[in-house]
């Protein structure tokens, strides 16, 4: 995942939060949160390398994150959207309605 693609597209760094498993993105200030719109977007290969290096360092002592990857994104106005379906689902949740506890009887 961390491999550099042939033609470069903007990327963000994503991972799962170690204690909770929640999907998180790396912000320019080094913070990680679930808000992809606040994520640092690397727009050149050099920036991507630097982002990856910083993100990898976050995996070190303290161990805040797991399953680190750079993923391609597109910016649409105020929104940032991963291009791959898998990453889109990771970011925005399952594409199906989750069973709602206490939902009325299904008749």
């Amino acid at each position: 995942m961390a491999k550099r693609p042939k033609t470069f597209h903007p990327v963000v760094a994503t991972a799962n939060d170690l204690p909770t498993g929640a999907v998180v993105f790396r912000h320019p200030d080094g913070d990680w949160s679930g808000d992809i719109a606040a994520a640092e977007i690397a727009t050149t290969p050099e920036q991507a390398d630097a982002l990856l290096a910083h993100a990898q360092a976050d995996q070190g002592p303290g161990n805040r994150i797991v399953d680190l990857a750079l993923i391609e994104v597109v910016r649409e106005g105020a929104f940032v959207r991963p291009t791959a379906l898998r990453e889109l689902i990771r970011t925005s949740g399952p594409t199906i309605a989750l069973p709602a506890d206490g939902r009325p009887a299904g008749h």
Binding site: N16, L18, P19, T20, G21, A22, V23, P61, G62, N63, V66, D67, T83, A84, L85, R86, I89, R90, G93, P94, T95, I96, L98, P99, A100, D101, G102, R103, P104, A105, G106, H107
Partner: protein, 553 residues
Amino acid sequence: MYRYDEFDRTFVQERVAEFRDQVARRLSGELTEDQFKPLRLMNGVYLQLHAYMLRIAIPYGTLSSRQLRLLASIARDHDKGYGHFTTRQNLQFNWIALKDVPDILDKLAGVEMHAIQTSGNCIRNVTADHFAGAAADEAADPRPYAEILRQWSSLHPEFTFLPRKFKLAVIGAPNDRAAIQTHDIGLQVKRDETGSLGFAVYVGGGQGRTPMVARKLRDFLPEADLLAYCEAVLRVYNLEGRRDNKYKARIKILVHETGEAAFTEAVDAEFAALKGKALTLPADEVDRIGAYFASPAFASLPAQSDLYERAVKTDPAFARFASRNVHPHKIPGYGIVTISLKPTGQPPGDATATQMEAVADLAAHYGFDEIRVSHEQNLVLPHVRLDDIPAVFEALRAAGLATPNAGLVTDIISCPGLDYCSLATARSIPIAERLSERFADLDRQHAIGELKIKISGCINACGHHHVGHIGILGLERKGEEFYQITLGGSGDQICTIGEIVGRGFSSGEIVDAVETVIDTYLGLRTSPQETFLAAYRRVGEAPFREALYAAAG
């Protein structure tokens, strides 16, 4: 059902303490993810797309109402209010925090449950016929043997780091409801001419990338040799199974590459050395375990229930439910009730906490406190008086659990797919939901009859698509999901791997394609009694392929 004694309790508590220590070391950074991953997997903790997933063992799919209530409370307190019953008769929660897992395991231990060996390259939760102890066609109850195997395989010091996962299933009836021939070891309890108990032993079945039907290595293995024989098979596999390629590491590949004769010879040599020693099953131990599975105190009732018959005559909805979701019981006056977790347009196998509690109440009130999970991702009340089934039906209806579709086209098996699973190549639940909407009309479903659709979101085949009468495999090509159809698979006693009919279909096309297959079947069946599978076996794939691809040219 089996009850823990002090030893069993201590074992599970020690395991929880061990895992608590492992989680603490991971969270403190002492363990790297690479070191921790096999440890968490061995205790059922996966990292999925959105969160950790915790898979809880339900040995051979048997639950008490107390256990199901606890699962409901975990769903509420630690998850999003629901759980997912799997094709291995387990339950998984999709939104668990790693830091909570030790506390959840403590709660589970309080009701004699755990997550041991629900994942990892070890011997997995042993499965069995979900109608065990109740089915009219049963020769012997498989559960005592499943329990003996469960105990023997628990933290087995030799078989904790196998080349790949290892699955066992046991049945005791000629009709195979547990798909034993798709397992690494499948066992059928039977009697020989003298009336002694033993097992037909099938080895080397499996699905995944290279699906294979198991070979029958023994027609009759005496009961006493069960563990010695299994240990022999596992030892040969542990030493000889391939470790260079994850996709070639299952025992089916070893059997295939070694050849059945040479493999059998290696197992027999190992067995000869183990036989008659420490692992021999003493009759009194079999009896001791068997006593936990003694029949509940059935009343002596007439075979027919007036109340039940009247409800069938007067309430068409009940009649439909009775025709699909009630199966014959070995005791007169009782029935086996299947609770479908496949309502129209919902994810197959999911149940909310409230629904789990409703089922727990029904089991406590009407069903000797027993609940089963089927590998078809439904729940079962194995022992209900026919007199009570109309009342059970009403209660199920109120809980949204009375869909009368057991074994029908909308009783779809589906893995979680790309909506949850980090290994997926495509989504599977939305396809299941759309299919169940397309075929929602109950008259149409009942007219189509027995039909098993099974969907997997990648080649790992957790949705058992290879043995679906209609199998659907979700794949990805150039960023787009597409779906391959296989036809004619079957996981029962005549186990068959489905055949791929042709190129795949887009997400937009797949539901129509399945409908085309079903319409083709309806057009060519000789009578409504000829099931889809029977018809397919008679005519082969040609008419279906033609119907699917003729239009496209």
